[in-house]
Symmetry: C2
Subunit: 674 residues, 2 copies
């Protein structure tokens, strides 16, 4: 009967969670929440009335809300599709009142208030964008008891801490079809983000149709690019959900794909092909020729007509200057104009871009490197190199936003990103300078992700960044964040996001459907190596398969986190449930090994992780021994400690670019036996 | 140690499967396969050369093939993207040779030959379309041993039995975004289907942009329709994969959505709104006014320019004639023209359509009802009403294809569809008449499916229909079909199809992530009620949520099938493994109940299936008792038999439109105790 006992234990935990107040599980946390004890029951007569002067899309979003509510509850809500021409319900359960449509731009009012009592829901906002944010809070509040689904009594007043809460998506490195963008827009909306930054050109691909210079996408995009109609579709989709779309045309470096069709733009005008490798490349635009600016003027003017947002991103990062150094005419130009450093030459280039953008009514955004005394203060600096640079830029009078610390491609834990604050206590900025800190952007660089895996790198971790950028700065409880993130992660699935469901799918493919359980026991405690180590470990490039074990594993492997935490808890007082959890998992890892190895043997794609499986078995056994020493009340022999710690060191070595995430927990167990 | 023992048992089965020859697992089965013992190993130097006169898309499909091969094997194949301008590899491992591009039309040559030895793969075909079919056979042949992945030695000659192998998709009843269509096109390609039939208008929605009559999609589509650019995108995507796209504009009935914007087309020209209910509706076009034909002429001419295929479908089904009967001017027209029956009136209407289509170079397709002496023999009759009608139509000289028996919306088992032959032995057709039987179409009517669930209704069962339509008629082994279908089902996932992965996702949502294992034990033996019973049991319509337990369950619940089969096997000789399987499952259903009920209690959306859970427990216990009687060697008491059979009868009652699929197995067990 042991099995049943374990299931019951699991169940006891689940019941306590499902009874928790959804009102305390909101993510991002609102500025002010008061929770009451009444409930507004949901039945088929639930109706919504929309009042005031909202934008038309509010009707669509309210209808989406109604369908999601029906989808989650199974309640067949009778109200017909909500539209501006609908019959207004009498005695509506819910009233959405919007003062004015609002204009989607930096700093638009996104505040809202939400009041729920036993009989009514009132969602009020100044603009349509505030109402959008409030609808997402409301759907998160959905709760249930044995009688049915309900919204709890609350009074919420909410508005964002920062006006720029972005996600960078990079279809240049790996092509991402429109639906990938759209479902991630839906995810952004769910956590109240408001800027989609499309890194749409880079060495590895030119992903947007240009009618003026068609060889850009035809030759630089290799058939994988967004048509202008698709871009308009994406922009409309995003705008109707309160998300600004900002394109990045990364120049003068990171621009090989431009040169495939137009080599005359290059500093060294030879034949170029679309780049397959990752990294910093030498090809760079020629900043000394008028024809370069004529081209950029025509192109950026075309793009300015396509993207309605006031801001446009020109990249400007990681120009290694090699081709400029190698080029005689660039050297000659520098000598003639008295320019000493490449940075100055690039500033000259950026000044010309700035003129073009200004003429098109656009403000310029660029990475750290664009900062230069000659560059006007109207630009926005996006800091990828660090908090220091951000603070310095704000002190110099630039608007800034933070991406350093939000690089979600580096497979760091959500807690790391969560505690990374664009405007931490003690930043030393004056209130006026602090206002220049606009927010930040999570950056989903595309080298290591494909349409199949990208969602699992973005979600749910980006919810932690979204909370950092929306909620008051003093909301910093990591444990609470992880608990709430687990809830929102499941909710994100209803938007079509694949971060959960592609995990098992990829495991199924790896073992051809036979042995998923065994394989998951390993993958649940494994993660990709961190930061840029994957590039160093393997001969990666744009055409390699991203379908291996490492790609199936996910950041923040929850079983590993829980295990390490349970071990940590044992230090204070050995609670029965922590001990059971630790024991149970050690046993599972140890006994799983025999079957797992057969599965790895049978599937050549998994051969590379056999050492990882072996190491998990070894350190699991060490953990079991450690527990035995702890339970015996005696210290472990020093010899054993030495051996055990040495094995743990070995277990830190990645295999197949994957590493075991429970080594630190095992080391803690060993330390506990001293 | 019992747990480990069970896992090993499972593993023993899996090993035997993974070592089976992929060459005998092809689906659809080729016409002729010879299997040798050599292997062509796959390593990073695998290269493809394309020779002859192929269409350009063959380069893209060969590139897709290479990426899928890399994805499944993890082998980083070094060949760069395959394109017409690529550098030709020296000593290629694989040669694709295509005699001529071919033209995608009914009857295009899809034959191919595939020869693999230890050193080379040769794929030859007359047209590009044959090469496409051969590539899918090849990727299915991928196998592995401990040394790595390989293709087995084979000689295959293959060509289809029928030239029309279609899938009907119905975005009219529930809107389906472009990506749903595209991933299902990929699925069709994988099983060698070649016609996508888009049922693009119906009472519940008009899903295609008309530039001539924009109120059709604007008012009839409620914002959910394909733009003409999207339609061209779908057609190109399909054409480049050897799939013809045939639109269906269902008239004169099933046309309420046309009338929302253009009520003057109606027999009774009142105000219409988009239909929310399912079923046969009264609104119908007016066949007596010239203006109706002027409208249809302009519209169908527009559509004829958009859809390149020679065939166009005009529906013609389920006109109940009520509005014609109610309408004085229709009665007057009938009297004046001497038309007695509505069927004749509709034939008149169809004749006019036929003229319009002919003028546009199109051939007409319609459902059974269009058959009429006045309708020329050049039309194709799609038989939804039965084999009899099909045979009769062929005897009357019409080209025909079968859909009766391929209605995959009715949740019948794959075996049922598999054995349904458009041209069975003893059809009584002359060879000439038999040639008029073009094939068939699986019909995915859209009432009960959404983008979230549609893949699980189409796949994998449609693979069985695809085999029926491609493979020789004597390939009819149901067990073999199910085994091979399980393999192809996993492979279909790599195309983005969600039939597997949305199952657990929907279960997670139903129980908010807590209790998926317990819930799955129930859902694995549950299916939606069959045929049109769901409409009768529930107040269904277009706005109701399709996210309930019944929607998560899938056709052909494999655990139920295996259980019933294992019980069946016990009749002959009680094999140990069958007995273990039966026992194990009965125990699992019985012991799961306690936890399952708590989970159902905690999630109001699951309350409706509590009776189902209770009944599963009851009949599982009856099964356990039956086994005990069987083992004791004594007959069970008649009283007990009576009680047990009565409970089984009760257990047949559906709850939440869902039924238990193991009742027949339990009844068999009871019979075994007599």
């Amino acid at each position: 009967m042991k099995k049943t006992g374990l299931l019951l234990l699991g169940l006891a935990i689940s019941i306590s969670v499902s009874y928790s107040q959804q009102a305390t599980s909101l993510m991002p946390q609102p500025k002010k929440v008061e929770i009451g004890t009444q409930m507004l029951q949901i039945d088929k007569n639930f109706t919504i009335l929309i009042d005031g002067q909202p934008s038309n899309f509010i009707f669509d979003r309210a209808d989406d809300f109604l369908r999601r509510l029906a989808g989650r509850t199974g309640v067949f809500i009778q109200q017909d599709r909500i539209s501006p021409s609908m019959n207004k319900p009498v005695n509506p359960k819910m009233l959405i009142k919007v003062e004015e449509p609002g204009i989607l731009e930096l700093g638009v009012d996104e505040s809202y208030s939400l009041n729920i009592d036993a009989n009514h829901i009132k969602l009020y906002s100044k603009t349509s964008y505030g109402a959008l944010r409030g609808l997402e809070t409301l759907i998160q509040l959905l709760d249930s008891d044995q009688k049915g689904y309900y919204f709890p009594e609350v009074k919420i007043d909410d508005s964002p801490r920062f006006p720029w809460r972005g996600l960078l998506i990079d279809p240049a490195r790996h092509w991402l079809p429109v639906e990938v963008i759209k479902r991630n827009i839906d995810g952004m909306v769910a956590v109240k983000m408001n800027v989609l930054h499309l890194h749409i050109t880079d060495d590895q691909g030119f992903r947007i149709e240009s009618k003026v210079f068609p060889k850009l996408h035809e030759m630089g995009g290799e058939g994988m690019y967004y048509s202008q109609e698709q871009i308009r579709d994406i922009i409309n989709y995003a705008s109707d959900r309160g998300i600004r779309v900002i394109p990045e045309f990364d120049i003068p470096g990171h621009a090989t794909s431009w040169l495939v069709g137009y080599p005359e733009l290059a500093t060294i005008p030879v034949e170029y092909s679309v780049e397959r490798e990752w990294g910093i490349m030498d090809p760079v635009l020629d900043p000394t020729k008028e024809s370069t600016y004529e081209f950029l003027d025509a192109f950026l003017t075309e793009m300015a007509g396509l993207f309605p947002d006031e801001y446009m991103h020109i990249g400007g990062d990681e120009n290694n200057g090699k081709h400029w150094k190698q080029s005689e005419h660039i050297q000659k130009f520098k000598n003639e104009t008295g320019i000493k450093y490449n940075h100055e030459l690039q500033a000259l280039f950026n000044q010309r871009l700035h003129e073009i953008l200004t003429r098109n009514g656009k403000k310029m955004v660029g990475w750290d490197e664009i900062q230069h005394p000659n560059i006007p203060k109207t630009v926005v600096i996006q800091s990828w190199r660090g908090q220091k640079g951000l603070t310095a830029a704000a002190k110099a009078g630039y608007s800034v936003m933070l991406s350093n610390g939000y690089y979600i491609d580096l497979i760091q834990p959500a807690s790391f990103h969560y505690l990374n604050d664009p405007l931490p206590d003690g930043s030393g900025l004056t209130p006026e300078q602090a206002r220049l800190v606009l927010g930040g952007e999570a950056t989903m660089w595309g080298e290591q992700v494909t349409p199949e895996t990208i969602d699992s790198r973005i979600w749910p971790r980006t919810a932690a960044i979204a909370e950092r950028l929306w909620s008051p700065g003093n909301i910093r409880d990591v444990e609470s964040m992880y608990e709430r993130m687990a809830i929102i992660s499941l909710q994100l699935e209803e938007l079509g996001l694949t971060h959960e469901k592609n995990y098992e799918m990829m495991l199924r493919r790896l073992c051809r459907g036979k042995g998923v359980e065994e394989l998951r026991i390993l993958s649940d405690v494994s993660e990709s190596v961190k930061r840029y180590r994957r590039n160093a470990l393997s001969n990666v490039n744009a055409l390699m398969p991203y379908t291996r074990f490492v790609d199936a594993t996910r950041p923040d492997a929850p079983v590993a986190r829980n295990f390490n935490q349970a071990v940590e808890n044992l230090k204070d007082e050995a609670k029965h449930e922590d001990l059971e959890f630790v024991k149970d998992h050690l046993d599972r890892w140890f006994t799983n090994h025999q079957n797992l190895i057969l599965i790895l043997d049978n599937n050549p794609i998994l051969h590379e992780i056999k050492p990882l499986a072996n190491k998990l078995r070894t350190i699991a056994y060490i953990g079991i021994q450690a527990l035995e020493y702890m339970e015996s009340g005696q210290s472990s022999p020093e010899e054993w400690q030495e051996y055990a710690l040495e094995e743990c060191e070995k277990a830190k070595t990645p295999h197949g670019e994957t590493e075991l995430m429970i080594v630190s927990g095992i080391i803690d167990l060993i330390q506990n036996t001293k």
